[in-house]
C-alpha cells in the first residue's frame, strides 16, 4: 500500500470544517481521481497529504510511515517523493523553462550549489529527459511566461518529474485549459502513470475526463467521501448525488 489516509479532519482558522473524517487507501500504480463540487474539500485533501497545510487530526501514511507528525529534514525527504501539479501552474515566470524544471530537483541538491546555479551535467541531462517526457525540449531556453497555458502545465509536470516522485498529486491540472489542450495534458499524466509506474492522485471536474483516465474514483461532498469505486459505475443516480439534482453532464473530448 503506497498511501493510507485515516480519518482526516481539517478545520480552517475561519472555522470551516473542510474535511470531516476522510479515509481511503491508494495502491501503487493507481490513477485515482477525486471529484466533487467546488468547495467540497478536494484541494484541502491533496494539500493535507503533502503537508502544504496541516491537518487538524487524522493520519496520512505514506510508504507505510506516518508523515503527519514528522518535521524538519524528515518531512523534507518525504516531500521529495511526492510531486505536485497545480491549477495555476505556479512556475517562476521570469525564469527559463530549464531553470523551472531544475527547481524540482532542489531538495536533493546542496544549498550552496543551488544558489550559485552551477549544476552538474547529470542534472541538466535529467532536466532535458523530463522535458522530453512532456515533449517540449525545444522550449528549454525560453522564459516560462512566454509559453501557452498547456505548455506551462507540461513544464510544471516536468518539474515534478525531476523529483522522481513515487506519488504525483494534481489539483485540477486542466481546469484553466481549453478542452483539446486538457486532453493532451491529461495524456501526459496517463503516460507517466503507465510508463514510469508513478501513482497519481488527481482532482478533476469533468466526468468525461474521469471516465477516460481514472482507474478508481473518490467523490467528496461537504468534506466527506460519498462514493468510492470504478469510474464506469458512476451512473445517472450517483451523478445527481455527487453534483446535485440540477446538474447535467457536459462532454469534453
Amino acid at each position: 500500500m503506497l498511501l493510507k489516509v485515516k480519518n482526516l479532519h481539517k478545520i480552517y482558522k475561519s472555522g470551516t470544517h473542510a474535511l470531516k473524517g476522510v479515509s481511503f487507501e491508494v495502491e501503487e500504480g493507481e490513477f485515482l481521481v477525486v471529484i466533487g463540487l467546488s468547495g467540497s474539500g478536494k484541494s484541502t485533501l491533496l494539500r493535507c497529504i503533502n503537508r502544504l497545510i496541516e491537518p487538524t487530526s487524522g493520519i496520512v501514511e505514506f510508504q507505510g510511515k506516518d508523515i503527519t507528525h514528522i518535521k524538519g529534514e524528515e518531512l523534507r525527504l518525504a516531500k521529495m517523493k511526492i510531486g505536485m501539479v497545480f491549477q495555476q501552474f505556479n512556475l517562476i515566470k521570469r525564469k527559463s523553462v530549464l531553470s523551472n524544471v531544475i527547481n524540482g530537483k532542489l531538495g536533493s541538491l546542496g544549498t550552496f550549489e543551488s544558489i550559485l546555479e552551477k549544476y552538474s551535467d547529470d542534472v541538466y541531462q535529467e532536466a532535458y529527459r523530463c522535458l522530453d517526457t512532456v515533449g517540449i525540449t525545444d522550449k528549454a531556453k525560453i522564459r516560462a511566461d512566454a509559453l501557452s497555458g498547456g505548455q506551462q502545465q507540461r513544464v510544471a509536470i516536468a518539474r515534478s518529474l525531476m523529483q522522481n516522485p513515487k506519488l504525483l498529486l494534481a489539483d485540477e491540472p486542466v481546469a484553466s485549459l481549453d478542452p483539446a489542450t486538457s486532453n493532451s495534458v491529461m495524456q501526459y499524466f496517463e503516460k507517466i502513470n503507465k510508463d514510469l509506474g508513478t501513482t497519481v492522485i488527481c482532482n478533476l471536474h469533468f466526468l468525461s475526463l474521469v471516465r477516460r483516465y481514472a482507474t478508481r474514483v473518490i467523490a467528496l461532498r461537504a468534506g466527506e467521501i460519498i462514493y468510492e469505486g470504478a469510474p464506469r459505475d458512476i451512473d445517472e443516480n450517483w451523478f445527481k448525488t455527487i453534483y446535485g439534482e440540477e446538474a447535467e453532464e457536459v462532454e469534453i473530448r
Binding site: 478545520i11 470551516t16 473524517g21 502544504l52 505556479n90 517562476i92 521570469r94 532542489l106
Partner: protein, 358 residues
C-alpha cells in the same frame, strides 16, 4: 462510505469565542483611547487656551502634582465614559450603543476635539498676519528675491565641485545600503517569518528597530554622526546610509509580502529547504521592484544630501549654508538654481530608468 466520527470539534463555538475575545479587546482599547482624549482636552484647554491665549503668560506654570491630578480625573471620566458604551472611542471600535446619547456625545466631542486642536495650533504657531505684510518685511523679501534672480556665476566651478560631491555622497550611501537592506528585508517580511515563534520574535524586534531608525530624520542622524566621525561628507554619507537601510528595508519587505504565493508553495512542495525556497521562488519575484526602489532612493538621497549639507554633511548644502551666513544672496541664488536643476534631472532620469525596467 465513512460514518461521521465523534470528535470534539465545534467550529461554531470557536468562532463565537473569537468574537467575544475581540469584543473584550476592543473595549480595553476604547477605554485607553478615551482616557487619552479626555486628558488631551483638559491639557490643551488649560495650557494652550487658558494660560497662553487668555492670560498670555510667558512662562507656563508646571507641577507634576497638578498633571497627575488631571490625569487621574481623565482616567475616571474616560473609563466610565467608555464603559457606558457612549463614547467616541466606542464608536470608533464599533462597540458603541446605538442611541441618541451616543450620537450627541460623539458628535459634540469630536467637534470639540477638532476646535481646541485648531485653536491650540494657532496659538502655538504664533500666526501673525501683520508680520507677513509689514512694509519692512516686504522690502527685505524684495531685496532677497532680486539677488536670487541675479545669480553670481563667479563661484560656478566651486559650486559644481560641491554638487558632484553631493551626488556621490548620495550614490555611495545608496550602493552600500543594498546588501544590508536585502538581508534585513527577508527577516522583516511577515510571510516568511510568521510560521515559527522564534523567527516571528526576530521579525518583531527588527521591525521595531527599523521603525525607530526610520522615524529619526536623516538631518538628525547627520548631526549625530558629525559629532561621532567629525563634520564632513563622511558623516553625511553614514546618515543617509542608516536612513536608507531603514526605509528601503520596509519597502523591500512589503514587496516580499506581496509576492505570488503559488510558486513559493510549489517549490516548497518539492522538498526544497527554506533558503532554496527563498532564493528560487521569492527572489526572482522581487528583483524588479527592488531595483526600482533603489534607483528611486538614489534620487531621494540626492535631495536629502543637500539638506544634510546644511548641518555639516558636506557638499553643496554646506556651501549654501556658508554663503547664507555671509548674506551673499547672489551666490545663494546660483547654488539654489543648481540644486533645482540637478534635482529635476535626477528625478527625470530615475523615472525613465524605472519605466524601462518594468
Amino acid at each position: 462510505m465513512i460514518k461521521e466520527p465523534e470528535l470534539e470539534i465545534h467550529p461554531q463555538n470557536f468562532i463565537e469565542e473569537n468574537k467575544k475575545r475581540e469584543h473584550k479587546y476592543n473595549l480595553y482599547k476604547a477605554i485607553l483611547l478615551d482616557i487619552f482624549f479626555v486628558f488631551y482636552s483638559i491639557l490643551v484647554v488649560q495650557r494652550a487656551i487658558y494660560y497662553k491665549f487668555f492670560l498670555d503668560l510667558r512662562e507656563l506654570p508646571f507641577s507634576w502634582n497638578e498633571i497627575i491630578l488631571l490625569f487621574i480625573i481623565s482616567v475616571i471620566i474616560g473609563a466610565s465614559w467608555a464603559i457606558s458604551r457612549t463614547s467616541l472611542s466606542c464608536k470608533l471600535f464599533g462597540i458603541a450603543k446605538e442611541n441618541k446619547t451616543t450620537k450627541w456625545s460623539v458628535e459634540i466631542f469630536a467637534w470639540f476635539l477638532f476646535d481646541i486642536t485648531f485653536i491650540a495650533g494657532w496659538v502655538v504657531t504664533k500666526i501673525s498676519i501683520v508680520g507677513l505684510f509689514s512694509s519692512e518685511g516686504l522690502q527685505g523679501a524684495e531685496r532677497l528675491f532680486s539677488a536670487l534672480f541675479h545669480p553670481q556665476f563667479g563661484i560656478f566651478d566651486d559650486a559644481l565641485f560641491a554638487m558632484i560631491e553631493t551626488i556621490y555622497i548620495a550614490l555611495i550611501a545608496t550602493l552600500i545600503s543594498i546588501p544590508p537592506t536585502l538581508l534585513i528585508s527577508f527577516f522583516t517580511a511577515r510571510n516568511l517569518m510568521k510560521e515559527n515563534k522564534i523567527t516571528f520574535a526576530v521579525y518583531y524586534v527588527l521591525r521595531i528597530i527599523l521603525n525607530f531608525v526610520r522615524s529619526i530624520e536623516p538631518l538628525i542622524w547627520a548631526i549625530i554622526f558629525s559629532v561621532w566621525v567629525g563634520i564632513g561628507p563622511f558623516a553625511g554619507m553614514i546618515a543617509l546610509l542608516v536612513h536608507t537601510i531603514a526605509s528601503n528595508a520596509k519597502l523591500y519587505s512589503e514587496a516580499i509580502e506581496s509576492i505570488e504565493e503559488g510558486p513559493v508553495e510549489a517549490i516548497s512542495a518539492t522538498g526544497a529547504n527554506k533558503v532554496q525556497v527563498v532564493w528560487h521562488a521569492v527572489v526572482p519575484q522581487i528583483v524588479l521592484p527592488f531595483l526600482s526602489f533603489t534607483i528611486y532612493r538614489w534620487d531621494i538621497n540626492v535631495r536629502m544630501a543637500t539638506i544634510i549639507g546644511l548641518v555639516g554633511g558636506g557638499g553643496i548644502g554646506t556651501m549654501l549654508m556658508q554663503y547664507q551666513g555671509l548674506a551673499r544672496w547672489r551666490e545663494v541664488g546660483l547654488i539654489i538654481l543648481m540644486i533645482a536643476f540637478v534635482v529635476w534631472v535626477m528625478d527625470y532620469i530615475s523615472a525613465k530608468i524605472r519605466e524601462a525596467i518594468y
